[in-house]
Amino acid sequence: MSSDTPLLSNLNVWENMALIKQYQQNFSKKDAKNLAIQYLRQLNLESIANTRNPDLKEEERFCGLLLRAAMVNDAVILIYKPFKLLPAMKDFTFIHNILINMDTLYTQCYIFDYTWNKNRYRMNDAEEYCV
C-alpha cells in the first residue's frame, strides 16, 4: 500500500475492502461485507465503514488502506513511504500500534522508506536494512 494505490472514491470503506474478496474469491456481497465490518471492528473503526475516501481523515484513510491490503488471502503487506500518507505523524507509534492491533489479519508486513526518516522509526541501525 502507498499513496499510489488509493481507495476507490466511488466506493465507501467497507465496499473497498469487500471488493477484494468478492473479486478474488467470489465471496457474496453479504459475506464480504460482514468480513470487512469484522476487520474494521478490530481497529474500532466501524464508524467509517460507510464513509468514502475524500471524507476520511488521514489516519482513517491509512487504516482503510491497511485493512484493504489485509483482505488478500495470507496477506503480506508492503507499506511504501507510510509518512507520505500520514504527514502530520511525528513518529512510528501510531503505525506500530495499528499493526499490532491487526496482527492476526496478515502474515508478514514490510515497510519501505528513506533512511532520512529513520528517526521517526526510532532506529539507530537503519543502515543495516538499506536496500
Partner: protein, 261 residues
C-alpha cells in the same frame, strides 16, 4: 502543398489508428462478455448498480422526453399522412419509422449524452487519481470489474429504454389514430401486427445492442487514454463524445443499408 498532403496523411493515419484501436478493444471486450470467468460477485454488484444509474434513474426524464417528443412527432406524422392521403401506409410508417428508427435513435442520443459522457469522465478521473493502478495492484482486471458491467448495462438499457420509447410512441399513435382517423383499438392492433416484419425486428434488436455497446465502449477507451494530469480529463471527454456521435451515425447508416439489402 507538400505540407498539406503531409497533414492529410497524418490525420488519416491517426483516424485509422484510433478506429482500429477501438475495433480491437471491441473484439477484446466481446470475448470477455462471452467468457464465463468474467463473471463474479464484484462484477454482478457493479452491473446492478449501473443498471440502476442508467435505466432507472433516467426514467422520469426519459418518460417526459418520450411523451413530449413522441406525442408531438406522432401528431405531426399522422396529420401529414391524412393530408397526403397515405392512410394505407399508416402501419408501415408507424412500425418502420417510429419503432425501428425513431425510438433507438432518440434513446441512444439521450443515453450517450447522459451515461456516455459520465462514464468517460469517471474512467478518466480514475486514471488521473491512480485508482486504476490501485485495482491493478490487487490483480483486479479493470476490463472485467469496471468496463464489462458498464458495457453490458449499456446494451441492456438501450434495448429496454428503446422498447419503452416505442410503447409511448405507439400509444400516442393510437390516440391520434382515434382522433384523426376514428380508428378503434382492434383495427389499430391489426394494422400494427400486419406491418411487423421479423427481419426488421432482428435488425432493430441488433442495432440497439450495437448502439449500447459502442456508446459505452468508446467513452471507456477515451477515458483510459487520459494522462495523469487533471487537464487531460476534459480533452478525453471531448474526443470520446465526438467519436461516440460518429459511431452513432455510422451504425445508423449501416443498419439502414442492412434493412434495404
Amino acid at each position: 502543398m507538400s505540407r498539406i498532403i503531409e497533414n492529410i496523411g497524418h490525420a488519416t493515419i491517426d483516424i485509422s489508428k484510433s478506429f482500429f484501436d477501438t475495433l480491437s478493444f471491441a473484439v477484446k471486450m466481446t470475448f470477455k462478455i462471452f467468457d464465463k470467468k468474467s463473471y463474479n460477485s464484484a462484477t454482478t454488484s457493479v452491473l446492478i448498480n449501473q443498471i440502476y444509474f442508467t435505466s432507472v434513474e433516467i426514467l422520469p426524464l426519459f418518460i417526459i422526453v418520450s411523451v413530449t417528443l413522441g406525442t408531438l412527432i406522432m401528431g405531426i406524422v399522422l396529420q401529414t399522412i391524412k393530408n397526403m392521403g397515405l392512410d394505407q401506409y399508416l402501419g408501415n410508417i408507424l412500425m418502420g419509422f417510429a419503432v425501428t428508427e425513431l425510438s433507438p435513435f432518440v434513446t441512444v442520443l439521450l443515453l450517450a449524452l447522459r451515461s456516455g459522457s459520465a462514464i468517460n469522465t469517471e474512467i478518466a478521473t480514475m486514471k488521473v487519481s491512480k485508482e486504476l493502478d490501485s485495482l491493478k495492484s490487487f490483480h483486479i482486471d479493470a476490463n472485467i470489474y469496471l468496463f464489462l458491467p458498464r458495457i453490458i448495462n449499456g446494451m441492456i438499457s438501450l434495448v429496454l429504454l428503446s422498447g419503452l420509447f416505442s410503447i409511448v410512441l405507439l400509444t400516442s399513435g393510437f390516440i391520434f389514430s382515434k382522433t384523426i382517423f376514428g380508428m378503434g383499438l382492434n383495427a389499430y392492433s391489426n394494422l400494427l401486427a400486419n406491418s411487423v416484419h421479423l427481419s426488421d425486428m432482428v435488425i432493430l434488436f441488433v442495432k440497439c445492442l450495437t448502439f449500447g455497446f459502442f456508446i459505452i465502449l468508446i467513452p471507456i477507451r477515451h477515458g483510459m487514454g487520459a494522462s495523469y494530469e487533471l487537464t487531460s480529463i476534459p480533452i478525453s471527454v471531448l474526443h470520446g463524445m465526438i467519436r461516440v456521435f460518429s459511431a452513432i451515425v455510422m451504425i445508423e447508416v449501416l443498419s439502414l443499408i442492412a434493412k434495404f439489402i
